[in-house]
């Protein structure tokens, strides 16, 4: 049983969320409770989230939150995305959450934001229905934080482009249908103008999944290393302008980072809730552990910090939706949430005692899943540099 509704105070406040968004929250939560939580242990074992589940999410419209109605979406804004990410994070299965969130908010967005009409009409409706699942491939074995440092090359040959190189840590990398791939098109140009994004379909000759990666957490998410060996793609598959890729990536990072922040705070709140339930039941030294001030004050402070971060996310989403520039706040959120979720997990494992170290406990999985939140999508240190630049 869910703990007393710590989730539902600010998360349902009309200050941030109207009836529509509250209903969206209810539906995602019901989906998580009935379609994800009872089944996801098996997916952790299998190393992937089943396509049938993603199709169901598609049928319910969850993949079209931000896309326009003409393409089959609901035309909602960042606040709806925050609800979606937070409720998925709350599932306690972040591997499932990230599978969906990379598709909706980190990969298919490249097609929507940079793509031309034909590309959008071809791909976005299929992404919304869940018929096509997307991945985004920027990181390489030799370049992660430093996006300009990528070395995958795309050279012009006749009317086509030919890609060579490798990509690393790509979420949905094993099972996606369509990949938004960053490659250098003009190594002579300034680094910021040398990157171009390409649409690469799964069965394109020369494009292979080198290996599925074995991860510390997010085990129900498939992550791959990809190889490109003379992969020929037509000019029609260039996303946006040639040389404009770096700016597209940076722009999309803003949404991605807000989403990771919301997801991380969903995880953190869920961990606090289930630890509270545990402490109220678990007895030691003649009383429930919750009676120990040393414990409850630590959790009270963590819950205050999580609440502060959540409300900063809500406020920032609302401001972004109103068109304000929130780059500074989004960078702060990514740094803050990525670290805070790990602090929460550390204490929650601690207060579970020996059980927190056991594979059978939810908190053990959650603590592994949380670790990457301060690395992926912009490591804390990189985010803090973005903040510092704007101080």
């Amino acid at each position: 049983m869910t703990a007393f509704s710590s989730f539902d105070n600010a998360g349902r406040s009309p200050l941030f969320f109207d009836d529509t968004l509250r209903m969206l929250r209810d539906q995602v939560r019901r989906f998580v409770e009935t379609e994800i939580k009872p089944h996801a242990d098996a997916w952790e074992e299998e190393g992937r989230t089943p396509r049938a589940l993603l199709r169901k999410m598609g049928e319910l419209g969850f993949f079209g939150i931000r896309y326009p109605e003409e393409l089959g979406g609901a035309a909602l804004d960042q606040r709806a995305t925050v609800v979606w990410a937070e409720e998925l994070g709350r599932s306690t299965y972040s591997g499932v959450a990230i599978t969906a969130l990379v598709h909706t908010d980190m990969a298919s967005v490249h097609i929507f934001n940079a793509g031309n009409e034909a590309q959008k009409v071809e791909w976005i409706p299929r992404c919304i229905s869940g018929e096509a699942i997307s991945a985004v491939a920027v990181t390489e074995p030799g370049a992660g934080s430093d996006v300009k440092g990528i070395s995958t090359r795309a050279r012009r040959e006749g009317g086509d482009w030919v890609l060579n190189g490798a990509k690393m840590f790509i979420t949905n990398g094993v099972h996606a249908d369509v990949y938004c791939v960053a490659a250098k098109t003009d190594p002579e140009a300034r680094p910021s103008q040398s990157v171009t994004m390409f649409l690469v379909e799964k069965d394109t000759p020369g494009f292979t999944v080198s290996r599925a990666l074995d991860k510390h957490g997010w085990r129900s998410s498939d992550t791959a290393e990809l190889s490109f060996s003379d992969v020929r793609v037509p000019d029609a598959n260039v996303l946006g302008s040639a040389g404009g890729g770096f700016y597209e990536i940076m722009k999309n990072f803003q949404n991605e980072r807000l989403v990771i922040g919301a997801m991380a705070m969903g995880e953190a709140q869920a961990a606090l809730d289930l630890t509270l339930d545990y402490l109220r039941e678990r007895r030691a030294f003649g009383a429930p552990l919750w009676d120990k001030q040393a414990i409850r004050q630590r959790l009270a402070m963590l819950s205050a910090r999580v609440e502060a971060c959540r409300q900063m996310i809500y406020a920032t989403a609302a401001r972004a939706a109103a068109g304000e520039d929130v780059v500074r706040e989004v960078s702060m959120i990514k740094a803050l949430a990525g670290e805070l979720v790990n602090e929460v997990m550390y204490d929650c494992v601690q207060f579970h005692g020996g059980m927190g170290f056991m594979r059978e406990s939810t908190i053990e999985r959650m603590s592994r899943d949380a670790r990457v939140q301060s690395i992926g999508g912009g490591a804390t240190e990189v985010m803090l540099e973005e903040v510092a630049k704007r101080m």
């Binding site: 509704s5 989730f7 539902d8 209903m23 319910l60």
Partner: protein, 252 residues
């Protein structure tokens, strides 16, 4: 045929209920509220009747505080065609009793003239299990409670009821009031596109005074208390010891 479905806003079934310090009821401040689960089943059944061509219109009605419009929007997002909110209280802690609800529903039904009312068998907040029955008495309509199957056949409804001894199938004359049990169906999700469409569906707002119904309580809540905490168990070595312990406890 028009189907009318009353829906109640209740404390969400996932929320751990807390009794207010003064024992006057449970704490509803800042607590997640949802549609009564039995009413969700009723809405689902009404929508299925419409999809099968057995009904033309589904009207959802809620009686309570203004915030119940959120509950009605959910019914609209599931597929109801329009909604009526009858505001009868300002305080979220004021429960409108079954008789007052039934009287207001009767007044709405006199205006709306539905051919069928599908209601939840009870609301999970106070488990009264009375509104549907009272409504059928006030209307002079037939009633079929605890439905686990519903078939409309011309001017009759065939209803399978979950009773203590098993299943009972009855035939009732239409118009009638049906109250639904848990196993009738599994309510659908409100998809995001349908949530968006629900924003444009009509939701009329009325008050209890509009229908001339006095909603002041006739029942007095003497005390509300937490259920007794479960005592710790013991482990027994074998069946003999189990029987001995049960005898000791006077359980057998």
């Amino acid at each position: 045929m028009k189907v009318l479905v009353p829906v109640k806003r209740v404390i969400d079934y996932n929320v751990k209920v807390r009794v207010k310090a003064d024992g006057s009821g449970v704490d509803l401040a800042n607590v997640k509220m949802s549609m009564n689960p039995f009413d969700e089943i009723a809405v689902e059944e009404a929508i299925r009747l419409k999809e099968k061509g057995a009904a033309e219109e589904v009207v959802a009605v809620s009686i309570g505080v203004k915030q119940a419009q959120e509950t009605l929007r959910t019914a609209l997002a599931m597929g109801a065609d329009r909604a009526i909110l009858v505001v009868a209280a300002d305080d979220v802690h004021q429960d409108i009793e079954p008789l007052a609800v039934a009287k207001i529903l009767k007044a709405v039904i006199d205006e709306e003239q539905p051919g069928l009312v599908i209601a939840g068998k009870q609301a999970i907040d106070n488990d009264m299990n009375a509104t549907g029955q009272m409504l059928s008495a006030l209307l002079g309509w037939s009633q079929a409670t605890f439905a686990s199957e519903l078939d409309i056949d011309g001017d009759h409804a065939k209803v399978t009821r979950e009773v203590d001894g098993g299943l009972q199938t009855i035939k009732v004359k239409m118009p009638c009031v049906v109250t639904v049990d848990l196993r009738l169906n599994e309510p659908r999700y409100a998809s995001l596109p349908n949530i968006m469409k629900a924003k444009k569906k009509p939701l009329d707002e009325k008050t209890a005074e509009d229908y001339g119904v006095d909603v002041s309580p006739r029942l007095e809540v003497v005390k509300t208390a937490e259920p007794a905490e479960r005592a710790a168990g013991i482990k027994v070595a074998d069946v003999d010891e189990l029987i001995a312990k049960l005898k000791e406890a006077g359980a057998i």
